[in-house]
C-alpha cells in the first residue's frame, strides 16, 4: 500500500501528459448513445467470457431434457410418431428454446446484482439516455443467450435434425428474437425487484411453467380446453411453434403427421400466421423494453 506522497508524482516520462489532454464531453446525441449501448453490451460479453462455469451449467439442463427425458419417454411416445422420426427430434425445437431461457432471464439478474454492489449507480449517473443503457443490456443478454443456443444447436445431429444452412439460420434468428424478449422481460423485472434472492426465486418460479405450457414437450393439437387456453397465453408458445415448424419443414414425413405434430397455433379455430406469431414476440420484447426504460428513468 502506498503511503508516501512521493508516489503521487507521475512516473518519469508521464509528466508531459499532465494538463495537456483536452477532454470535452459531448452534448449527447445518437453517436454517444450508441457508444454507451455498445459498452454495456460489451461488458456482458466480457463477464460471460470470464464465467465458463455458467456456460457449462446452462447447457446441462437442456442436455438432460433432450437425451434423458427424450430417450426415456421416446420408448413410450414413439409409437404415435411416423417411422424415422424420434421423440428426441420432436422435442428438439422446444428444448432449444429452453437452452436460451435461463441464460437470457438470468443475464438480467446482473442488474439486481449490480444494484446491490453499487455498480448500477455508476451507470445511472452517466450523462446518457436510459434507453441506450437498457437496450445495450437487452442486446448483451440476447447475444450471450443466443450463443448458448448455438452451442446446443451443434448437438442437432444427435436428435436427427439435419444441419441445413437455411434451417440453422432460421433457428438462430428465432433464438435471437426469443433471447431479446426474455432478457427484456428480465430487465423489466429487475427494475422493480431490488433483492437478488427475490429475483432468483421469482424467475425460477416462472421459468418452468413457461416451458411446460409452451408445447415444447407435446403437440398443441387435441388438448383439453383448459390446457389449450393456458398454452395460448404463454408467450413462449409463439416462438416454439415457428421453431418446430422450421425443423419439421426440413424433415421428410407425410403431411398428415406434420399437421398433427406441428399444428398451427389457433385462436378459437383461427390459425395464427407464422409472421404474426413471431411479430407478437417482437412486440412483447419492444413493449417490455419501453417499460424497463421508463422504470430506470425514475428518480428517487
Amino acid at each position: 500500500m502506498a503511503t508516501s506522497t512521493t508516489e503521487v508524482t507521475p512516473a518519469p516520462g508521464a509528466e508531459h501528459l499532465v494538463g495537456q489532454i483536452r477532454v470535452a464531453v459531448p452534448e449527447g446525441g445518437l453517436r454517444h448513445d450508441l457508444r454507451a449501448a455498445g459498452i454495456v453490451w460489451r461488458r456482458e460479453l466480457i463477464r460471460f467470457r470470464t464465467d465458463r462455469l455458467r456456460a457449462v451449467t446452462a447447457l446441462i439442463q437442456p442436455v438432460l431434457f433432450l437425451f434423458v427425458l427424450g430417450t426415456g419417454l421416446g420408448a413410450l411416445a414413439g409409437r404415435s410418431l411416423p417411422p424415422g422420426i424420434s421423440f428426441k427430434t420432436f422435442i428438439y425445437p422446444g428444448v432449444l428454446a429452453m437452452s436460451v431461457l435461463f441464460t437470457a432471464i438470468f443475464s438480467a439478474a446482473s442488474i439486481v446484482w449490480d444494484r446491490e454492489f453499487g455498480f448500477l449507480r455508476e451507470i445511472l449517473v452517466a450523462p446518457v439516455s436510459r434507453g441506450s443503457i437498457v437496450i445495450g443490456k437487452c442486446l448483451g443478454g440476447a447475444t450471450i443467450a443466443t450463443f448458448q443456443g448455438i452451442v446446443f444447436l451443434v448437438l442437432a445431429g444427435f436428435a436427427d435434425v439435419p444441419y441445413n444452412p437455411l434451417l440453422i439460420i432460421t433457428l438462430i434468428g428465432e433464438l435471437l428474437l426469443l433471447s431479446f424478449t426474455l432478457t427484456a422481460f428480465g430487465v423489466m423485472m429487475a427494475a422493480r425487484i431490488k433483492q437478488f434472492q427475490a429475483f432468483m426465486a421469482l424467475t425460477q418460479m416462472l421459468v418452468m411453467p413457461l416451458f411446460f405450457l409452451s408445447g415444447a414437450l407435446y403437440p398443441l393439437s387435441g388438448l383439453p380446453a383448459w390446457l389449450s387456453v393456458l398454452t395460448r397465453l404463454d408467450p413462449l408458445t409463439y416462438i416454439v411453434g415457428p421453431m418446430r415448424h422450421a425443423v419439421f419443414s426440413h424433415l421428410a414425413m407425410p403431411a398428415a403427421f406434420e399437421q398433427h405434430l406441428s399444428p398451427a397455433i389457433t385462436w378459437a379455430g383461427w390459425a395464427v400466421p407464422l409472421g404474426l406469431s413471431l411479430g407478437m414476440v417482437a412486440v412483447m420484447g419492444a413493449g417490455m423494453t419501453v417499460i424497463a426504460i421508463a422504470e430506470f428513468s425514475k428518480t428517487e
Binding site: 503511503t3 506522497t5 503521487v8 507521475p10 512516473a11 453499487g118 451507470i123 452517466a126 446518457v128
Partner: protein
C-alpha cells in the same frame, strides 16, 4: 445551540465572499429540503461553493450529507428548493450536470470482475470521452493515483485503498468541473486514509477542479477551504476551519481526578463551570485555559492526577454548535453496519 446561520443569507454570502474569489459560484443551493415519507432528511439548507474551492460537509451519519450529495448529483429530486451545479439545474438539466461532475461514493461502485482498465474504459464510453483522448487521459488519471502499472489486474485483487484510488481516477476521467467525494476514506485504515488525502491534495494542485466532500472525520475536514457543519438536516455553521475554531473562543481542559462526579460538582459550585465526562476525563471549556489551570490547582479540593489544555479543535467547534460530540451523535451504529456489509461482500467474492 447556536443560531442557524443557514437561514441568514446575508451572513452566508459574507463568509463565502471572504474565503473565495468573486466569480460565479460552481454550486448554488437554496432552500433545499428532502422528505422521505415521514422522515425529513434535509430541512432547508442554503450555501454556495466557489470555483476551485474544497468544500466539506461535516456531520454525523444520518445528518443529511449523503441525501444532499444525491440531490446535487441528480440521483434524487429535492422535495423543495433548488440546486445548481456547474451552471445547470439539477432537476431540469440533469444530463448537463452529469457531464460536469465526477463522483466517488461511500461504497465502491466498481465492477470487481473487470480489470481496472476495463472499468475506466466503460466509464469513458458511457461519458462519451472523445476516442482519441481515452487512452492518454486514462494513462494520466491512473498515473495520478499510482495505478497505471496495475491496470490489467482484476479489481477484485485490489486492496480497499487501491479501489478507492481507482474510483477517484475514474471520477476524473471525463475531466469534470466538480468532484463529489462522499466519505472518501470511510472504512479505510488510518495509513491508507492519509495516502488518499495525499492524492486528493495533489489533484487540487493539478486540475482546475472544485471538490465537494462529506466526512465525519474532523481531521479530514481540516483539509477543506470551508466547512459546513450539518446536523439533523440543517447547516448550523459555515466558514473556514480557522474561523470556526476561533469562533469557539475557548480552550478545552481535561482533568483526571480521583472522583470525577465530585469534581464535576465542585467545578460547578466553585467556578460556575459546566463539565462532563468525555473520553474518560472530566472535560470543560474555559477562556484562557493556561491561566485557569493554576487557579484550579490552588482552589480545588479533589486531587488532580493529570491535566491537559488544548486549543479548540473542530471537535469543540462541532460540540459548541450542536451540543454533542460527533461520536456521541453517531450512536446509530451505521459504521458498524457498513463494516459488516463489507465483510459480507469480501466473503462472497
Amino acid at each position: 445551540m447556536v443560531a442557524n446561520t443557514s437561514t441568514d443569507p446575508e451572513g452566508a454570502a459574507a463568509t463565502s465572499a471572504a474565503a473565495a474569489p468573486a466569480s460565479e459560484p460552481v454550486i448554488t443551493v437554496s432552500g433545499l429540503t428532502k422528505q422521505y415519507g415521514e422522515v425529513q432528511a434535509v430541512r432547508g439548507i442554503d450555501f454556495e461553493v466557489a470555483r476551485g474551492e474544497t468544500f466539506g460537509f461535516l456531520g454525523p451519519n444520518g445528518a443529511g450529507k449523503t441525501t444532499t450529495i444525491k440531490i446535487l448529483c441528480t440521483l434524487a429530486n429535492a422535495t423543495s428548493g433548488s440546486a445548481r451545479v456547474a451552471g445547470h439545474d439539477t432537476r431540469t438539466e440533469r444530463d448537463s450536470v452529469r457531464r460536469n461532475i465526477g463522483l466517488v461514493f461511500q461504497d465502491t461502485t466498481l465492477d470487481t470482475y473487470l480489470t481496472a482498465e476495463q472499468n475506466l474504459r466503460f466509464h469513458a464510453e458511457l461519458y462519451g470521452v472523445p476516442k482519441a483522448a481515452v487512452i492518454p487521459r486514462m494513462h494520466q488519471v491512473m498515473d495520478m493515483v499510482g495505478l497505471w502499472d496495475r491496470k490489467d489486474s482484476l479489481v477484485s485483487t485490489y486492496s480497499g485503498g487501491m479501489q478507492r484510488r481507482l474510483e477517484i481516477a475514474r471520477g476524473l476521467l471525463h475531466a469534470p468541473h466538480v468532484l463529489f467525494l462522499d466519505e472518501p476514506t470511510v472504512g479505510l485504515d488510518p495509513q491508507t486514509r492519509s495516502s488518499i488525502w495525499a492524492y486528493i491534495n495533489d489533484l487540487k494542485r493539478r486540475e482546475d477542479i472544485t471538490i465537494f466532500l462529506t466526512t465525519h472525520y474532523m481531521d479530514e475536514a481540516e483539509n477543506c477551504d470551508r466547512i459546513a457543519i450539518i446536523d439533523h438536516g440543517k447547516i448550523v455553521a459555515i466558514d473556514t476551519p480557522e474561523a470556526l475554531k476561533a469562533s469557539v473562543g475557548k480552550d478545552r481542559v481535561q482533568i483526571h481526578t480521583a472522583d470525577d462526579a465530585a469534581a464535576i460538582a465542585e467545578l460547578k459550585e466553585t467556578f460556575g463551570i459546566e463539565a462532563a465526562v468525555r473520553e474518560g476525563a472530566v472535560t470543560f471549556s474555559v477562556a484562557a485555559g493556561e491561566q485557569f489551570v493554576p487557579r484550579l490547582f490552588a482552589e480545588f479540593s479533589i486531587p488532580i492526577r493529570q491535566v491537559s489544555v488544548s486549543r479548540p479543535s473542530l471537535d469543540d467547534v462541532f460540540m459548541s454548535y450542536t451540543g454533542s460530540t460527533i461520536r456521541d451523535a453517531e450512536a446509530s451504529g451505521t459504521d458498524a453496519m457498513r463494516a459488516m456489509a463489507q465483510r459480507f461482500r469480501a466473503g462472497r467474492r
